[in-house]
Amino acid sequence: MSDSTVPAGESTRVGSSTEERTAVSRSAQAFRQLKRNSASRAGLYVIGIVTLVALLTTIDADIFDYQFAATFWYHPENDPSGGEILLPPIGIENEFGAGNWAHPLGTDHRGRDILVRLVYGTRIAVQVGLLATGIGMTLGTVIGAVSGYYGGWVDDVLQRFVESLYAIPFLILVIAIMSAFGRELGIAIVGVSITTIPVFTRLIRSQVLSVREMEYVEAAKAAGVRDRHIIFRHIIPNSLAPVLVQSTLQVGVNILIVASLSFLGFGVQPPTPSWGQMLAQSRQYMIVNPWFSIWPGIAILVTVIGFNMLGDGLRDAIDPRSND
């Protein structure tokens, strides 16, 4: 209804009648919008913290004190009979003992500190999420842009290929790939990237197709601007906004997929700590120490929510219609 107050085509004019205006680009506006949205701010904080933690773990022993590091791997000193295994978090007691400050979140079936393993699991999650999304996004964007711009048989062949990749449910596809090439983390990343390709190919292709028809592209063509210049100055920059949104959301999705793979026994192999694998291991001990199952899930949930909130915020900032 508010549409009727502002004429079509003039809607962006709101507030611009005052003569004192500095050059404000669309992206700056979008960014301001983003900052105003509390959910996306929260998302940014979560992602910031998670990334920071992941970065800190790479500096290893120097930052994290020896005790954490010592319990990082399975140590023979942590004799299961010593009662250090499957401890609950602080304030809770189970048949193996009471939670204590040495292991604030408790210990796992081998007596390793859950908090430390969670912290180290962050690295894998963030690394895999970003890497797989990055590779998939790059390949998908290139394929989609080529497909959309050239059209014709190139488009046909690429689209058929992408469509059939899409027709195999992505978890199944990664599993099939890993059964062929091995169950290591690297293959998992490649596999997840491949399943990510169709998402971006479809997105960027439809974007390119619609941007290609925009009048400003036609205007550039009519002005005699070279094709190459049109692609790089007009088509690509104007097609990328939804890619940005999707890639943020996709990091979350990919973190979930990698966690699922680890849970199924693919991907990260023990003893390297990863959240999905911790969940898999916890299954046998659910009755005695359910906390072992709860913590890694919360870690995944919080991280993925962070990316989702940021992605939703970005989408609202770029296209205000998508929300309210």
Partner: protein, 334 residues
């Protein structure tokens, strides 16, 4: 064009996609580094045994010959035999497991759609008040939660702590009463089956439910701003009728698209859910096949997963055409 004609066309379009799927799977499985025969016969076999196996599985022929033979075979429904299951035809094994997974999928989608649509409409109706916020937060958490973790939590709460529902396995509702523990009548079987189905369905359905709720809400909000809804208001049609009729039908179009996308997620989710609850369906089958490096079985299950997906999308597309008259009649006007 009639709906039947439309379905016919869409079925024809499936053929090349499936052909591509078969090709991709075939290439993938045949690009395994190392000698597949050695894996087949085991590390202790001697050269003669390896050669015999090579001939037996046709692996002495060039790749393209095997590809053509494989295509010809699966066209007749022959997906080879499973080594892990002692030479049982792959097709038979899959057909044995398929109903289990389908039951799980249907029940989880029913649950997801059945709760998501009212929830989404409710949220849209109460836009920006606290119920809406609650619905939005719930669905945000829903799309961010690993489904297998939901399964684990459900097992902890409902199976171990309260002992209300069974933590594992699945009983088919059409199983003969004699084969089900403690069941004497059809009714008992159904009850047992339902109690087994509840937790896995919630596990598998959570993500779908959250995703559908979100799209239902935003799609409903968009439709409620359309001119034809304004017109309906201007002619005195009540808000209730608008929500139930005028706006509702239109709002389901984007929802259907999302449901189509969710099918692929759900098929992956079925693998996880079956693992968490130890259900012997297609998901468990493919995991077993991969662990045992049973290649014919891996290929067969992969292709069947693709078939399930493609058919699922077909159902969605047909529904779309049923709701949107612009599609089923050719859509050339707009």
């Amino acid at each position: 064009m009639t709906t039947a004609g439309y379905i016919g066309r869409r079925l024809l379009q499936i053929v090349p996609v499936l052909w591509f799927v078969v090709t991709v799977t075939f290439v993938l499985i045949n690009s395994i580094p190392g000698d597949p025969v050695r894996i087949l016969v085991g590390p202790s076999a001697d050269a003669a045994a390896i050669e015999a196996a090579r001939v037996q599985y046709g692996l002495d022929q060039p790749l393209y010959v095997r590809y053509v033979k494989y295509l010809a075979a699966i066209a007749t429904g022959d997906f080879g035999t499973s080594i892990h299951y002692g030479g049982v035809p792959v097709t038979a094994k899959i057909l044995e497991r398929l109903p289990v997974t389908l039951l799980l999928l249907v029940s989880s989608f029913t649950l997801a759609i059945g709760t998501a649509i009212p929830l989404g409409v409710f949220a849209a109706k109460n836009r920006n008040n606290r119920y809406d916020h609650l619905a939005r937060i719930t669905s945000l958490v829903g799309v961010s939660t690993p489904s297998f973790w939901v399964g684990l939590l459900l097992i902890i709460v409902f199976a171990y702590y309260t002992n209300l529902l069974p933590p594992s396995g699945l009983v088919m509702p059409w199983a003969p009463p004699g084969s089900v523990e403690g069941a004497t009548s059809r009714l008992d079987v159904l009850a047992t089956s339902a109690s087994h189905l509840i937790l896995p369905s919630i596990t598998l359905g959570t993500l779908q439910m959250a995703a559908i709720t979100r799209i239902e809400r935003s799609s409903m909000l968009e439709v409620l701003n359309k001119d034809y809804v304004q017109l309906a208001r201007a002619y005195g049609i009540s808000e209730r009728t608008i929500l139930r009729k005028q706006a509702f039908k239109n709002a389901q179009l984007p929802v259907l698209t999302v449901i189509g996308i969710q099918i692929t997620t759900a098929l992956g989710g079925a693998v996880l859910t079956e693992t968490v609850f130890n259900i012997n369906g297609m998901g468990n089958l493919i995991i077993t096949a991969v662990r045992a490096q049973d290649y014919q079985l891996i290929m067969g299950t992969t292709i069947f997963f693709a078939i399930m997906f493609v058919l699922g999308v077909l159902v969605v597309d047909v529904l779309y055409a049923v709701i949107d008259p612009r599609i089923s009649y050719g859509g050339a006007d707009e």
